[in-house]
């Protein structure tokens, strides 16, 4: 099929970016979206132009590296699907497709479609863990976890840290990501001792990193490739209030 791509090109963080149009006339419906860009990049290289920079690695929907806003929607039109798992059979012949980077204050552009998401790592570093030094653990069966809790913790833990939630949010909030981690660790017994400090520290870092506040618009969950629900944020708020009270 034939497509017209309009892609955000930006050489460095300092220069202004712009949309550039590239016609594509050899797209197979079996290609993934990234494979389609690979084909474009091969062509650009041979034409003496610089290929389009974009982040990717696993191409299996699990590493969270791929990050494209496709026709205004982070990860594109398919529900619960990362860009790398999006296939061209979901597009129609002759369509024009806009491709842009994640846009958010906390995610500065590195080049073209690549942004810097290291703020997420710093939120985790602020407390998104259980302090369990190596070798100090009791036998695994000493800590039973009811199956429903373990399953719910797992659901929250499936967040891939892609940042689509931030890119979709009108406030550029990273609350869904933060809430996913708080929910995961808050649902297992091992996570209880640090529960209060965790939420306070992670939310404080979230704000310092330049993410906006959550106003419950719900755009985040609608683009989240892992289906992290809005109720995670409600849980975070509950933990946050509890922790504030406990501290005061």
């Amino acid at each position: 099929m034939k497509l017209t791509l309009r892609i955000w090109r930006q050489e460095t963080p300092q220069v202004k970016g712009r949309m550039v149009t590239y016609p594509m006339d050899d797209v197979s419906p079996d290609m993934s979206f990234l494979e389609m860009l690979d084909v474009l990049n091969e062509r650009l290289t041979l034409d003496g132009q610089e290929p389009v920079a974009f982040d990717h690695d696993c191409r299996e929907g699990i590493c969270g590296a791929c990050s494209l806003v496709i026709n205004g929607v982070p990860h594109g039109p398919e529900k619960a699907t990362t860009t790398c798992q999006l296939h061209m059979r979901h597009f129609t012949d002759g369509e024009t497709v806009d491709i842009e980077p994640w846009r958010a204050r906390a995610f500065p552009v590195v080049k073209d479609l690549v942004v810097d998401r290291s703020a997420f790592d710093r939120i985790i570093a602020a407390g998104g863990y259980i302090s369990a030094p190596t070798g100090s653990a009791p036998d695994a069966h000493a800590t039973p976890v009811p199956k429903p809790d373990a399953d719910a913790a797992f659901e929250a833990a499936t967040c891939i840290g892609c940042g689509a939630c931030v890119a979709a949010c009108p406030n550029g909030s990273g609350m869904l990501f933060t809430a996913a981690k708080i929910t995961h660790l808050g649902l297992v017994p091992q996570g209880q001792p640090e529960r209060d400090s965790r939420v306070l520290d992670m939310v404080a870092t979230h704000d310092e990193e330049g993410f906006g506040g959550c106003t419950n618009t719900g755009e985040c969950t609608s683009v989240c490739p892992k289906g992290i629900p809005l109720s995670a944020i409600a849980g975070l708020n509950k933990d946050y209030l509890h922790a504030l009270r406990a501290r005061s």
Partner: protein, 644 residues
């Protein structure tokens, strides 16, 4: 006839302690020198890689009090390739009371590796496996649970006991997040300094010791030299030499290969594991292959039509016209035979013209019986996300039409040679996880790579590296030290040369072509003739690369083509060594099937008399030198591996 290599001295000492195998690890730990806690702060360790091996190692070394500098080429340590592992992690907990034990895991692993691994290492791995689960549970890893709250397990590729711990189809993700979170905790504590989007491009060896690395900042393009008292490589496997593999796109061999060029021996490079359950190739645009978790083989039945060329829809082929070939040939294990056996069996039926799907390169993995027996909901609960992934990629619904699968390159058992302490032949250079050659022999059992990565990173290396570091800190070096300047120059020259060719072919086109050569001649089946041919083709291709490659952009700033070009260059050299290793090993074992060496029934024919050794290769710039490390089996006696 050209042999392509010369023989060198045998490897005398793997540093494994003697005595009863159960006590060896305990003894090694006791005998290792300890570093005084106050001195740990003065010692610096570089860890390259943040996968399960590198992430767990850096976090643990940080906890112990060392100064750690950690590197990965992704934008975040959490994205290392380990994140993609689906099936699970083995541990000899015997929580099921089904007869498992440390000894049985040890036995299964040595046998599964076709008697080409070291008994001491494998036994240690089996012993530590139980601690890994404890550690991960303490970190909050949400493993699957029974209703009573205890851990659930399942059985996995080639094992008759249920010893695999899992978190739905995303075990690697959950384990890696555990290690990553432990790592971030140390980063916040200031013991680990994290450098993401940095690629190691050279090793710095001073006075015979590994003392640092040359790295390129992938965002700015700046090349710097970094120093330490010891260097740990946890840079993963090299399956991407085949271009199409189940590995993440970024996986490469550069870190290991650069160390090899500085004198670290490279062991068993030809041992490649081909995984039987991948989604078949759909076209030339394909950039990677997707694995369907092996856990599917617990309930899916593998079949092809009995008649060659039968191209009817699967539903139109009656039960009596189907050949459930694994169940037929291997009744004791059926669909659960180890990977090398299942892969080769699929190749054989396709070679007979009985393959299904486009090009006849596929077999069915059918869930109709499981859905009939357990109900659709139960199957969905177990495998829902995998079925979804399959449908997304192929556009076919596996609940109604059987999946199509075909073998694909998945894991590399070869890697840098290390001793029992995980130290390479360069003092101060340690290698862990998939980047080293140890523990799996010629074939890896399912769910054992995660186990090895975490065993190395959490438990083995943090103990053994102390023995080396106790002699440190080592004399200060700086950018003016001749070896440092030389290493840096190698990196800069290579970049300048790559950018200067300005030819008419892309990096990927070379990589794809190399991959095709490797798959054709050094893939599921190898022959003397084919391997010789491949070596010639790779040499020609490399020469052509230097004439015709085009690397756009400059050395400064973010340049993904330049990154890939450097990696493909190292793949050329590695690919050649893989072929030489495969050529010299005129036996079949595990993931290495030499057509000339098979039984009357077409099974792999090992030759213990002549090949019971690790092949460790020394780099010379010309023909490599082969050093052999003899393998001794005191506890598990080599026998013909039969799954019938």
């Amino acid at each position: 006839m050209d042999t392509y290599y010369t023989d060198g001295d045998p490897i005398a000492d793997g540093k494994a302690p003697q005595g009863p195998i159960e006590d060896r690890w305990e003894r090694r730990r006791f005998e290792a020198k300890l570093v005084n806690p106050a001195n740990k702060r003065k010692l610096t360790v570089i860890v390259v890689g943040t996968g399960l091996a590198g992430g767990s190692a850096a976090a643990t070394l940080g906890e112990l009090g060392y100064q750690v500098k950690s590197y990965c080429f992704q934008d975040s340590p959490r994205r290392a390739h380990s994140i993609a592992a689906q099936g699970g992690i083995n541990a000899a907990k015997n929580y099921r009371n089904d007869g498992d034990s440390v000894h049985r895991l040890f036995y299964d692993t040595v046998k599964g590796g076709d008697f080409r691994s070291r008994e001491s290492n494998v036994h240690r791995l089996a012993q530590i496996s139980t601690e890994i689960i404890d550690q991960c549970v303490a970190q909050g890893v949400p493993f699957a649970r029974e209703y009573g709250g205890l851990l659930d397990t399942r059985s996995f590729g080639g094992a008759q006991v249920s010893r695999t711990f899992y978190a739905r189809g995303q075990t690697g993700q959950q384990l890696l997040l555990g290690a990553y979170q432990a790592l971030e905790r140390q980063i916040a504590a200031g013991t680990v300094q994290m450098n993401s989007r940095h690629e190691m491009l050279e090793l710095i060896v001073v006075d015979g010791k590994a003392r640092g690395i040359v790295v390129r900042d992938l965002v700015t393009g700046e090349v710097t030299t970094e120093f330490a008292d010891a260097v740990v490589l946890a840079s993963g496997g090299y399956g991407n030499v085949f271009f199409l593999s189940t590995n993440a796109k970024g996986c490469n061999v550069t870190a290991a290969w650069r160390a090899h060029r500085h004198g670290a021996l490279f062991a068993n490079p030809c041992y490649t594991q081909i995984h039987p359950t991948c989604i078949p190739v759909s076209g030339d645009h394909q950039s990677k292959l997707t694995l369907m978790s092996e856990s599917l083989r617990n309930d899916g039945r593998v079949w092809v039509p009995k008649r060659a060329g039968d191209d009817r829809a699967p539903g139109a082929i009656g039960e009596d016209e189907r050949d459930y070939y694994l169940e037929r040939i291997y009744p004791a294990f059926g669909n659960l035979v180890p990977r090398d056996i299942a892969s080769r069996a699929a190749k054989n039926v396709c070679d007979e013209g009985r393959g299904v799907g486009p090009g006849g390169l596929g077999v069915y993995l059918d869930f109709a019986a499981a859905i009939g027996r357990l109900g659709r909901d139960a199957v969905e609960a177990k495998y829902g996300n995998l079925f979804e992934m399959y449908e997304r990629i192929t556009g076919e619904d596996p609940y109604t039409v059987p999946m199509r699968i075909y073998p694909a390159v998945h894991y590399t058992m070869g890697g840098l040679w290390v001793d029992y302490d995980l130290q390479s032949t360069i003092p101060g250079l340690f290698v862990i996880g998939e980047a080293n050659f140890s523990d799996h022999g010629a074939n890896r059992l399912g769910a054992s790579a995660l186990m090895q990565g975490l065993a190395d990173g959490y438990f083995v290396l943090p103990n053994t590296i102390g023995d080396y570091l106790a002699a440190g800190p080592f004399p200060k070096i700086d950018a003016d030290t001749p070896e440092v300047a030389a290493a840096r120059r190698i990196v800069e020259d290579r970049i300048t040369r790559l950018l200067a060719v300005n030819g008419d072919r892309t990096v990927d086109s070379f990589h794809r072509e190399l991959g095709r050569i490797m798959w054709e001649y050094c893939g599921m089946e190898r022959t003397d003739e084919g391997l010789r041919k491949a070596i010639g083709m790779i040499r020609d291709l490399k020469a052509e690369f230097w004439q015709r490659v085009r690397v756009p952009g400059g050395e400064e700033g973010f340049n993904q083509s330049l990154e890939r070009a450097g990696r493909v260059l190292d793949f050329f050299e590695l690919g050649e060594l893989m072929c030489i290793d495969a050529l010299h090993r005129t036996e079949s074992c595990g993931g290495h099937f030499r057509a000339e060496s098979q039984t009357d029934e077409g099974e792999a024919q090992r030759d213990d008399e002549n090949f019971s050794y690790v092949a460790a290769w020394e780099y010379t710039g010309g023909d490599p030198i082969l050093h052999k490390e003899d393998l001794v089996f005191d506890y598990v006696h080599p026998s013909q591996r039969s799954y019938k």
